[in-house]
Symmetry: D2
Subunit: 324 residues, 4 copies
């Protein structure tokens, strides 16, 4: 089977990772690539290691009304840039939007694939979660659905590699000042908070009104860790049991015995979850690790695409993480 | 004035930073250096950039009963290695112990220099705080003394560069696996917790029994950030006012308007503190940044030595951070 | 077809990369793993992202006389450790030795796969080139065979990521002192020189007696670049034409228009070659880039294994490099 | 003595390092700072660790005709931006130009301070060498003046940290794509070549017509190494003797026994030189290490300023390198 596939936003890091995954995918055939800053280049001009079969594909200027015949489109556009444009893509084209415009929007399934595959199956429009929510919600879901933590008490201390800021991150992400530097930002008001509040509410049936979320920029290219502190009386064993049951059949979530390291997930679609609780302190800790460009972006997008194309979920995603 | 000064533990990172600071200090004259793994080497063999005046000093095997005439000794030994040995140093020698054996121990002042200089002045034995407590307690002290947070509710999410693990950190800190990796460790039970609990109790008059502390190893050589979440009804302005008043005359603490970055402190003895509060969420956030080898080790040690030697506190410590 | 495959030396970086490639290989089935320092562990204990099918395989203590039935063995042992042991492996087992003991040794094909596939096909014993020779010789081969450079005049200025030193690299490769540091070593006498001299002689029919080789340790985990300066009157166009012809049908060698960057090859089996010449200065420059664990170790090993197992050379090796 | 000092280009990395050194200098008093992108900010807005005495100095828009009364001006402007503007600075102001416009220009001393202090003393206009020439020429000078190498045969393989590209380096220097990447550039035609050719000619009395220079961008913030290959029949001992004699009284050049590492010089004005020769291969290798912002920019600028202000050369520059 060959599924005619396109990528828009291929010059960004999320789009580039989608290219890498699609190039190795046995069913998705890349027939269209678009990107504003790179339009007119060949794939090989931007990705010197592209396979010979894709090297000469010319990157187009993005125009949703001038698409070739497509079965599937991955969109990796800056926030605000996809809502209007994707509305003009023919309904026959399945879309996975890696960008932020369609999360918890009517007509779009929210693609938290390890948690809600059944809500995604059969859809034609899927909104990929943000990278921070992908890690946080995957680790929290078993606790929230089992009522092991109070949904209004969650503190998320998040750390991400620099590629999360995207290729257009600008001066603030220059090597000389980002290296050997750890930078907290967005205190009390990060853009990902509403997405997490909504999802926490859906998972728990309660309110996440007290949510606290603090992202930090870590001097590394890839990798994302959330360290979460919640109030609750559950034991570590109860948390682990809940996660083991919740993810019993899910191929990409790994419950780890030791606190997970970001490099464990590098280049993969895996999500590592870990729990540590102390009832005496009314404390449940939940940790989640993903590659921000893998499960946090293109990996989960391919997983979602597999689901809506009725392919086995792991198709093209079984590769081991890169170590070291 | 020349103060005859020694360093024991010069082969470690803390001892090496002490050497750098002492070499630039106008009153401390290095006359003795000891270190087990490097005994017999010249200073210049281990520190190729040492000034000519120190280059030929030979590193001795550490023997507290065979010291030359000394006024001041900096000890930077592994935990457990200094208690017995330093007891054998003549009482006439002032000691600053960078290691962990004498914190909150009778007969030793606890050298949280920016907070309690008056407890340090006039002492002959000072125990330097650990690197995590140095950052955390300096940021918390104004809040605790003013009663702006509940002392039993503090969550410390801490991040440190790799030099915090010391030169003898071993295989776990090899470049290939530490680079591009972020590693949480010591969940619920880190060795620095009792030191922090005791100090929080002293500062607040209350109990820190609910303290939560989670360190993370960040792929950078130097730098340490604590992101702290406390319950309290104070506003950001109240926290800032408290810190401004508390540190009005203190030369090394900077209240920053923006969330501080670790590189701001690189190579210096500065501590940056920052606050953000939201009464609606019953939340007070306090952030502290230090160089783990500066204020977190050798910088604070030199500050303590200045205090006990009746020198201006900033002597030899006024250098700007290295940027970028 | 399922080829029963083993790895010895799985705890090292080369062995670990072999595992990653074999796990994704459609014909090689991993049935045996051995490693001294990790014997007794499960694969998943050391590689948390291993696929479920391999997770429970127990790592054995290496004993060449207690092998299960194997068709193929990858050996990634320290120099000096494989010569005697591999001699005791049954002759029916095909072996690719990633280590250094069998290069240019009787009875072993020298596995410079992009250059000499025909010498490898049909063999049962292949010695993988070292990582520096892999990059250098692949870039030089077209020039040497066409006589475009004088073989006795080659200066190789080489730069490698830290994983090239192996997991057992020891204290010299700790993060704190390796980061933000560039280290030349082995001036005039590196261990890889004889291998390169011999191969240059074979390719050119001349003597490489004047060869100069200087490796440098670069603060990055993966990646290897050789910048080579040779005497010759060829033009850039002649060099490029020679390489284009030489590698016309070879799938893994890319002639690049711009100077190649190490990250272009990350995680892949690609080798990028580039040429720049100036007859007025009697100068031909040749550059080669590989991933030291890919084409420089496990990638080329799998390529060699494909060749000796009569599989298409690119089987399991077609993945795009990881970017960024 | 107080020397009224200004910096133009303070927003760049070279200007920022000049600020750090001047802040610690006992004779230079900073009274003026200018920078286009940061005009209107206070020093503390851009440099959070600035000492209290400098924190409130406002950065001016650069206007050479609206200077306050100055004794000394450090200029760190992009190439092409200083020639015309500095001509309008009053002749009474001593100028050290860190930028590239005045190297080997009439009326400007070439500030290769360790080699030619006597040409600098008494001047009012000094052009600082480029960062690559600073390292290369300091290592080559003893060999060239003693005739130990053939001046027309020098191959310079150079490696620099990313701060060498300056703060305005742009997209090419973003963290995500620069990290874990080693990038050669400017093959056969780098902008620093004429400066080096001219200086080599002056030092040797011969022609450097065959000079080859290849820079590489290394994933580190600071540090610069040149690995140089020359033809010559000198022995290692002869090269070392020549360097030892040449730099007998010079405070900042260190002849090292082992190949020098870039981190040895971090944050300092030191230059490490090292030699290895093999007459049988007609080869003399010379290595030089500097901090590209220290001896390669602001450190050497302060050294030059000390010389032209009749201060001891090491004033304000005696600090040990930062390690680790």
């Amino acid at each position: 089977m060959s599924i005619r596939t396109g990528i828009v936003g291929i010059s960004g890091f999320g789009g580039g990772e989608a290219l890498r995954l699609i190039a190795a995918h046995p069913a998705f055939e890349l027939v269209y690539a678009a990107g504003d800053s790179t339009a007119g280049s060949r794939i090989a001009d931007r990705f010197p290691g592209a396979p010979h079969g894709l090297a000469d594909l010319v990157i187009e200027k993005w125009d949703p009304e001038a698409l070739p015949e497509l079965d599937l489109l991955f969109a990796s556009l800056p926030t605000g840039a996809s809502a209007e444009a994707l509305a003009r893509v023919p309904g026959s084209v399945r879309i996975v939007d890696i960008g932020g415009d369609h999360r918890h929007v009517d007509g779009w399934a929210y693609g938290l694939a390890d948690v809600w595959p059944e809500r995604i199956a059969g859809q034609r429009r899927v909104a990929n979660p943000g990278c921070f929510p992908a890690a946080a919600l995957t680790a929290l879901a078993p606790l929230l659905t089992e009522g092991l933590i109070a949904p209004g008490t969650i503190v998320i201390d998040a750390k991400t590699g620099v590629s999360g800021a995207g290729r257009g991150g600008g001066d603030g992400f220059g090597y000389a000042t980002t290296n050997e530097n750890l930078q907290p930002y967005g205190l009390l008001k990060h853009v990902h908070m509403p997405e997490m509040e909504t999802t926490i509410g859906l998972l728990s049936g309660g309110s996440a009104a007290g949510l606290v979320f603090t992202p930090h920029l870590v001097p590394m290219t890839r990798g994302l860790l959330v360290t979460m502190y919640c109030r609750g009386q559950a034991t570590t064993a109860q948390c682990r049991d809940a996660a083991r049951a919740f993810y019993a059949d899910r191929p990409f979530v790994r419950l780890s015995d030791a606190p997970p390291q970001t490099k464990w997930a590098a280049g993969s679609n895996l999500c590592f979850v870990h729990y540590a609780a102390d009832p005496a302190r009314d404390l449940v800790m939940a940790l989640g690790v993903v590659d921000n460009l893998g499960k946090g972006a293109a990996g989960q997008a391919v997983q979602n695409a597999n689901i809506i194309c009725d392919l086995p979920e792991t198709t093209g995603l079984a590769g081991m993480p890169v170590w070291p």
